[in-house]
């Protein structure tokens, strides 16, 4: 577009292209070709596993249609619709159990427990989706044979652990006894101590969860 405008003469007619315009056009053409090659390659590597893992609500025609042409706040809905279904289900379950624990153990009102837990799980989802994309892209970028599958698998695994970890970290931050930390260590060190405490608890939770998953798998055989 810029190249075309640059080539326009003072009288409004088109003259010869300038070097910069030709260079820009060539670069755009090369980029398009490269993207087409990547797309074609990705399509040949698509299989049931990658499709199932990366399935998102926006893949449903009705959802995709309803989001078409949406703007403003709907952009958020569009971004959320691109998060895979498995992650949304995990966040919903995480929010429910986290809020139930807050209500039963810490006697927090449901009106506070649910939004707080939902926020930490949504943060987990966003972090997981970001890490998944970065990890998957890095592996695929190294152009290893079968990289799309390796990339998706690595992205899903790293993103999943991060989504759960960030959600659980938020839950532990909510449950942390901040007044005791601040009373004992002062404001700055107390807050730092509370954050460190929540991080250590998160690591332990993930370890226990992984251990339980292992026992669950071995109990089947």
């Amino acid at each position: 577009m810029n190249a075309r405008e640059e080539a326009r003469l003072a009288n409004g007619r088109f003259g010869p292209w300038q070097d910069s315009g030709i260079q820009g056009f060539d670069a755009a053409k090369a980029e398009l070709e490269s993207t087409k090659t990547s797309l074609a390659d990705a399509a040949t590597h698509e299989n049931l596993l990658t499709k199932a893992l990366a399935f998102s609500p926006s893949d449903i025609p009705a959802v995709a249609d309803s989001l078409k042409g949406a703007d403003g706040l709907a952009n958020l809905a569009r971004a959320a619709a691109d998060i895979p279904v498995i992650d949304i289900a995990a966040a919903g379950v995480g929010t429910y159990f986290g809020a139930q624990q807050d209500i039963n153990e810490f006697h927090r009102p449901a009106a506070i427990a649910y939004p707080a837990e939902a926020a930490s799980n949504v943060a987990g989802l966003a972090a997981g989706a970001w890490v998944g994309g970065v990890a998957g892209g890095a592996v695929a970028g190294l152009s290893v044979a079968g990289a799309p599958v390796l990339g998706v698998a690595a992205g899903v695994a790293a993103g999943g652990i991060v989504a759960i970890g960030v959600g659980d970290f938020g839950h532990n931050l909510i449950d942390e006894n901040w007044s005791a930390d601040i009373h004992q260590h002062g404001v700055v060190m107390g807050v730092a101590d509370g954050i460190g405490d929540s991080a250590v608890k998160t690591g332990k939770d993930i370890g226990h969860m992984a251990s339980s998953v292992w026992h669950g798998i071995t109990s089947i055989f």
Binding site: S20, Q23, G24, S34, T37, S38, D41, A42, T44, H45, N47, L48, L49, V131, V134, A135, G137, A138, V139, A140, G141, L142, S143, V144, A145, G146, A147, P148, V149, L150, V152, A153, A154, V156, A157, A158, I161, V162, G165, A199, T202, G203, K204, I206, G207, H208, M209, A210, S211, S212, V213, W214, H215, T218
Partner: protein, 167 residues
């Protein structure tokens, strides 16, 4: 490492490429770039700690069933992880001067049996890489290099462009 002319002195027709996570900050490698690099390492360390906790949890689970099994799993995981780190490091070094990422080319076989074999092999390959701690360790180590695998190709392309324009 090659230094580029100041952004303000670039001709209007040269556009600085946007790179995931770094935007255009890779061009000057100024304050904004290094803030992102530090954040990348800090967040990366947190992610690696979470993944380490998950692997440790599985190791503890195996140890509760069998101490010998846990020792074998630890040895296998260590050797496998080191091999994967070396493989990816060599791969990254070989591709260090590559400007464009070319996806590997492979055609799905026409034979139905070969097709099934290919899909099964891909699933196994996916599972095998997910259970390797070395992959995640490599991704973290890649954030510590002077240039990252994310901004390196953009720097090479910019150097080529500036050279071709005599700048």
């Amino acid at each position: 490492m090659q230094r580029f002319p100041p952004r303000s002195s670039l001709p209007r027709t040269i556009e600085i490429e946007k790179v995931p996570m770094f935007g255009t900050s890779w061009y000057e490698r100024g304050f904004g770039y290094w803030v992102r690099r530090v954040l990348m390492v800090v967040i990366g360390a947190g992610i690696l700690a979470l993944i380490f906790a998950a692997f440790q949890g599985v190791y503890n689970g195996i140890r509760q069933d069998s101490a010998a099994g846990a020792s074998i799993a630890l040895i296998v995981q260590t050797v496998y992880s080191l091999a994967v780190i070396v493989f990816f490091a060599v791969r990254a070094k070989r591709r260090w001067h590559t400007r464009v990422t070319e996806p590997p080319r492979f055609r799905m076989p026409a034979n139905p049996l070969a097709k099934v074999g290919y899909v099964v092999a891909q699933i196994l390959q996916g599972v095998a890489i997910v259970v390797c701690f070395g992959l995640y360790a490599f991704l973290f180590l890649a954030t510590l290099t002077p240039e990252t695998i994310y901004d390196r190709p953009a720097r090479l392309r910019m150097a080529d462009l500036l050279r071709s324009r005599g700048l």
